[in-house]
Amino acid sequence: MLFLSQLINGLQLGSIYALVALGYNMVYGIVKLLNFAHGDIIMVGAYIALFSLNYNHHPVVAALLTVGGCTLLAIVIEKTAYSPLRLAPRLSLLITAIGVSILLQNLAQFFFEARGRAFPADRLLPTGTVSIGDATVSYTSLLTIGISVASMIVLTFIVNKTKLGKAMRAVSEDTGAAQLMGVNVNVVITFTFAVGAALAGVGALMYGVRFPLITPTIGAMLGLKAFVAAVFGGIGSIPGAMIGGFMIGLLEVLVIHMGYSGWADGVVFMLLIIVLLVRPTGIMGRNLMEKV
């Protein structure tokens, strides 16, 4: 069953995109910033996981270190680079985000060298395959999908049921009004970056398992495609980001399977342009009129 194994393959890739897309989506929903550095946080996370696994840490310890490291890094970036620009024009904020992204890439290149390093995926997740019907599917694919879905359920719970989640939704709807109601906007923004980065940490682990060669530039393209997924699903909508991520993953696997692997990146961006032209709010997005 080629179809089933390719489907699982696509869902595995898609769940990575979805995890990353959620981070973009939440940050964009709250500060209206396309956080270019998000992809590079994943790169840093992948390096943390790689080093701690090579240091023979227990997989759970390595995973916690990765998620914690990404969260800390995102908080530091938010506090030092983004929060001084809270009232600045959005163009300045966007340029700063690009600057942070390049800085992270080049720092990684400086400290970890440009050559690729092998990710010890077998130490993180059990290897082996399982047969479903005629198809053989690796444990790692199923585990990746399972862990991603579990993370998304936790996120949905945080956003919908906790007090901070409520504050997040309020800030994304109307920052000024939320502030007047006593919401501490700065705390909420930092919390949003932290949650997004924690998901990015999970994404980094999953990425390392799927593509076990880590270089300082892996974050750039991953981040861009995840942003495409976020736009495709609808900026500001959490289920949208998940669906968008899975769709992009499936599409990419389909294009590669048809033998056009050189065109895969082009097709993803083509999809972005078509979506923006036909339905700029994405499949799950709400229509917002621009106020004068």
């Binding site: 964009y28 209206k32 910033l33 396309l34 680079a81 001084p84 620009l85 600045a88 024009p89 959005r90 163009l91 300045s92 904020l93 966007l94 340029i95 700063t96 690009i98 600057g99 942070v100 390049i102 800085l103 890439q105 080049n106 720092l107 290149q109 400086f110 750039a220 861009l224 942003f227 495409v228 736009v231 050189g262 065109w263 990146d265 082009g266 961006f269 083509m270 972005l272 342009i273 923006l276 032209l277 700029p280 004068v292």
Partner: protein, 337 residues
């Protein structure tokens, strides 16, 4: 009160033309005569096409107030268009250069039109990401259209078509700067600036915003195409991976550090940022770390860039000097002027 002395417009143009011609001839004879080494000349030529790239990106980023991230895509289109045309040697050299440059500009401009119409429906981050997407698509096309571009292996440029001499590059630089200056001082330029400052207000005052946004985009792409052609004429082989996202970012960095909306700033920043790595060879490893830190710090502490929106004007400085001299003399003889 005495009247201020103003240099009449034809005289201004005459002064500038003489100075530009003097600069071109002097520098060219210096290079031809071997006054500058091969490496120095190469850097100066590189600075030349980066100036064109920066001032052309500045039209959109500085004057129109949008942030496209696909400038390297237009550059790539121009580079390949010119390279493919030049390789056939249809015309004698001088005509071949001019025709190639125009073709590069026109093809890139057409791509700009094709991309600008859908992209300019969006603003801010969406425009950034959609132009980035187009830039990547252009690169993917170049890599995959093997029969035309020789794909990822790169397009060989025979020695006979390496046209980017000092004179060719800097004539293009000067024409570009004059062209942008003239446009920005005309009513069309004011319309573009008004869109940056407040699009809705501009539209309600009767400015055709869609037309001017697309026009600015096309002009920018046209000039980037010419810079791409000059880039192609400078190398032995044209490799598509050179025109990636990082190239767009390099150009953006020049514009931002120089000052959004300042042509003089772009020119200075292009020269400094291109020359600095050669000057600080021991620091070459840290180059991008330093540049990106500069970008972040600049946005936090001085978002308008080094020059802000200041533009250099020789005539204005001359006028100041003359007026200063007159006011000194004024006490003795204020009947004149």
């Amino acid at each position: 009160m005495q009247k201020k002395f103003v240099i009449p417009v034809p005289v201004r143009y005459a002064i500038n033309t003489v100075l530009i011609a003097f600069f071109l001839i002097a520098a060219n004879s210096m290079i031809q005569g071997g006054g500058l080494g091969r490496a120095q000349t190469a850097i100066i030529i590189q600075i030349g096409y980066f100036i064109i790239l920066a001032v052309s990106l500045n039209i959109i980023t500085g004057y129109l107030g949008q942030l496209p991230l696909g400038h390297a895509g237009f550059m790539a289109v121009g580079a390949y268009a010119a390279a493919i045309f030049w390789r056939y040697h249809f015309l004698p050299d001088t005509a071949n250069i001019i025709a190639g440059l125009i073709i590069a500009g026109v093809v890139a401009g057409l791509f700009g039109l094709l991309i600008g119409i859908p992209a300019l429906r969006f603003k801010g981050d969406y425009l950034a990401i959609i132009t980035l997407g187009f830039g990547e698509i252009i690169r993917v096309l170049i890599v995959n259209l093997d029969w035309l571009t020789n794909g990822a292996r790169g397009l060989q440029m025979p020695r006979s078509v390496r046209y980017s001499s000092f004179l060719v590059v800097y004539i293009c630089v000067i024409l570009t700067c004059i062209f942008i200056h003239v446009i920005m001082k005309s009513r069309h330029g004011r319309a573009i600036l008004s869109i940056r400052d407040n699009e809705i207000a501009a539209e309600s005052c009767g400015v055709n915003t869609v037309y001017y946004k697309v026009a600015a985009f096309v002009i920018s792409a046209f000039l980037a195409g010419i810079a791409g052609a000059l880039y192609a004429g400078n190398f032995a082989v044209l490799i598509p991976s050179e025109f990636d996202f990082m190239m767009s970012i390099n150009i953006l960095m020049i514009v931002v550090l120089g000052g959004l909306g300042s042509m003089f700033g772009s020119v200075v920043a292009a020269a400094v940022l291109t020359y600095l790595p050669f000057l600080l060879v021991p620091l070459a490893e840290y180059r991008m770390i330093i540049f990106s830190l500069m970008l972040i710090l600049m946005m936090i502490f001085k978002p308008s860039g080094l020059m802000g929106s200041y533009d250099f004007s020789l005539s204005r400085i001359l006028e100041k000097i003359i007026n200063f001299v007159i006011s000194k003399k004024g006490g003795k003889n204020d009947a004149k002027v």
